[in-house]
């Protein structure tokens, strides 16, 4: 569905107030990956890592500086219009709906922009109205919608023409927990039931953990991880943390198989691998324990560690 080979994007920026100097910024450098039909994959990275730039090259918004991109068998920057008919795109911080028009009018206009046949439009819209619960605000001007309502409208707008491939840039940004869940459920449904390939960028690790099987991580313009979430956890998340509360403040404990990461009064954080019960027994033998808990490494932490290694 998507083939990317040695993709790069360079921007020339001029700095300096009087003596302007040219600087070349490499937003994306030498990225390669493939996405198969029907995948739902997450594209993760800190701000300015090159996520959006990649998506913009995949959708034909930006022309790559180097490398080859093929999306649904097309070259995005040269066959932009052909590609646009087959993909949907939603950028969480951009508005594609008409600000002053009722939501339904926006859908009608999009129907004509995409030349969606009337019967298919009706079926698609009926489904989105149901799944995304659009009816309460279908006739409300977009500017009066809440963020959650608008995002549901935007999702519908990017799906009305029945795309095979959906690009989502920060689809859940700014949403509350309930709205987030609704969007996630919807994306999982269209991926599983309609076989729509979904590529989403996000800051929200919850999005990734709940939806994606595969994860791409980008930092400073280079891919630093391409693989499953379970493997990622195994490789970077095998260590756990045992948090112990001692009776009174003590110097860092010296226990074989663990190292103290942090001390705060009577509380100490020990990182370890393997069995928690053996470690607990050893700790209990060397100090007086009041309480303890075990913390799993979450993806956020894992990603931070990949970043720091890369």
């Amino acid at each position: 569905m998507i083939e990317v080979e040695h993709l790069a994007k360079r921007f020339v920026v001029r700095r300096g107030r009087f003596r302007r100097q040219r600087h070349v910024v490499e937003a994306v450098k030498d990225i390669s990956f493939r996405v198969e039909r029907g995948e739902l994959l997450g594209y993760l990275g800190p701000n300015g890592a090159g996520k959006s730039t990649t998506i913009k090259m995949l959708t034909g918004i930006l022309v790559p500086s180097d490398g080859r991109v093929s999306v649904a068998g097309l070259t995005p920057s040269r066959q932009r219009i052909e590609l646009a008919k087959r993909i949907g795109a939603m950028f969480g911080q951009r508005i594609q709906l008409w600000w002053d028009l009722p939501l339904l009018d926006s859908f009608e206009l999009l129907r004509h922009i995409y030349k969606v046949p009337a019967d298919r439009y009706r079926t698609n819209l009926a489904r989105f109205r149901d799944v995304l619960d659009l009816d309460p605000f279908l006739h409300t001007p977009v500017r009066q919608l809440s963020l959650g309502q608008r995002i549901r409208g935007e999702l519908t707008a990017s799906m009305l023409h029945g795309p095979e491939l959906l690009f989502l840039d920060e689809p859940t940004i700014g949403l509350d927990v309930v709205a987030k869940q609704r969007v996630r459920d919807f994306l999982i449904e269209i991926n599983r039931e309609d076989g729509v390939t979904v590529l989403l960028t996000t800051h929200d690790l919850g999005d990734i953990e709940r939806m994606c099987d595969r994860l791409l991580v980008i930092d400073h313009g280079s891919l630093i991880w391409d693989g499953g979430i379970a493997e990622l956890r195994e490789r970077y998340g095998a260590e756990r943390t045992l948090i112990v509360d001692l009776e009174e403040p003590a110097p860092p404990l010296e226990i074989p198989g663990a190292r103290v990461e942090r001390v705060d009064g009577p509380r100490q954080w020990l990182r370890f691998r393997g069995s928690a019960s053996e470690l607990t027994a050893r700790v209990a033998a060397s100090a007086r324990l009041v309480d303890l808990q075990i913390a799993e490494t979450d993806i956020e932490e894992i990603v931070r560690r990949i970043y720091s290694e890369a």
């Binding site: 913009k56 930006l62 219009i81 052909e82 008919k85 002053d100 009018d105 009608e108």
Partner: protein, 267 residues
């Protein structure tokens, strides 16, 4: 093509419906624009209060010239006046949205913001034209009528092309609004007066570089049957439609080139 016109009609229609919801406000805005644009014309009246002729033109003839320029300009403004805000669209990256839709980007820009209130200035131009024609005693021939009728759409296309070409600046400067305005609003202002009052370099600029002289100066000479004080070939007086076609091609190429250099915005 037919499909595109139909879609443009739908895009504009939806915006008209939403603006028409506040009927009183819309009527007042159109009326306001109508009255306000008489101030421009007042400047011309004041000039002629002090001098009977400007170069070889009397006040009625300049009124005719002004009306042609004004109508073309107002209709252009109605169609693509929002190109003013285009730098903003480039800066905040909202142009991205247009690039992921299966339609031409310039077409989408044209249909994106249609402001009915701009009709006010067009009505004012028509009123001035009616006045000018009623006092000018034009010797009508079929050719003269044809040139008059064609000069408005040709003028709109020429104005629009100039706007688009300078609007393309936004792709590089991301804030070229004022520079563009110098040529759009400034150009329309210059076109309101007979170009023979300007010095030679400005005349050449208006005739050949930014072809605004073809919006009203040359057609006006033809319709009024005036001798060209500059002695330029008479053929120039009827070629506005051809100039419009060339201007469209130039604008189209400039736009295409600019879009390929679009850099989008972060986030």
């Amino acid at each position: 093509m037919g499909d595109a016109v139909l879609l443009w009609g739908r895009l504009v229609g939806a915006q008209i419906r939403s603006q028409a919801q506040y009927r009183v406000s819309l009527v007042l805005e159109i009326l306001g624009a109508f009255l306000l644009s008489f101030i421009d014309f007042l400047a011309i009246v004041v000039i002629f209060h002090n001098t009977p002729r400007l170069a070889e033109w009397n006040v009625q003839e300049v009124a005719f010239l002004y009306a042609l320029s004004s109508i073309s300009f107002a209709l252009t403004d109605l169609l693509i006046g929002h190109l003013d805000q285009f730098p903003q669209k480039i800066r905040d990256g909202n142009f991205d949205i247009m690039l992921v839709r299966p339609r031409g980007t310039l077409f989408q820009v044209l249909g994106s913001d249609f402001q009915m209130r701009r009709l006010g200035k067009a009505f004012q131009g028509i009123a001035v034209l009616a006045y000018a024609l009623s006092v000018l005693h034009v010797h009508w021939t079929i050719a003269r009528l044809a040139v008059l009728l064609v000069s408005v759409p040709a003028g709109v296309v020429i104005f629009a092309s100039v706007w688009v070409v300078f609007g393309c600046m936004a792709f590089w400067t991301t804030d070229g609004g004022e520079f563009t305005n110098a040529f759009t609003y400034g150009g329309s202002f210059l076109a309101q007066y007979p170009i023979d009052i300007y010095s030679a370099w400005l005349r050449r600029f208006l005739a050949y570089a930014v072809p605004l002289a073809f919006v009203c100066y040359f057609p006006a000479l033809f319709v009024l049957g005036k001798h060209d004080p500059l002695g330029l070939p008479r053929g120039l007086q009827v070629v506005s439609p051809a100039v419009a076609v060339v201007a469209t091609v130039v604008a189209g190429c400039a736009w295409r080139f600019a879009v390929r250099h679009y850099r989008s915005a972060g986030g």
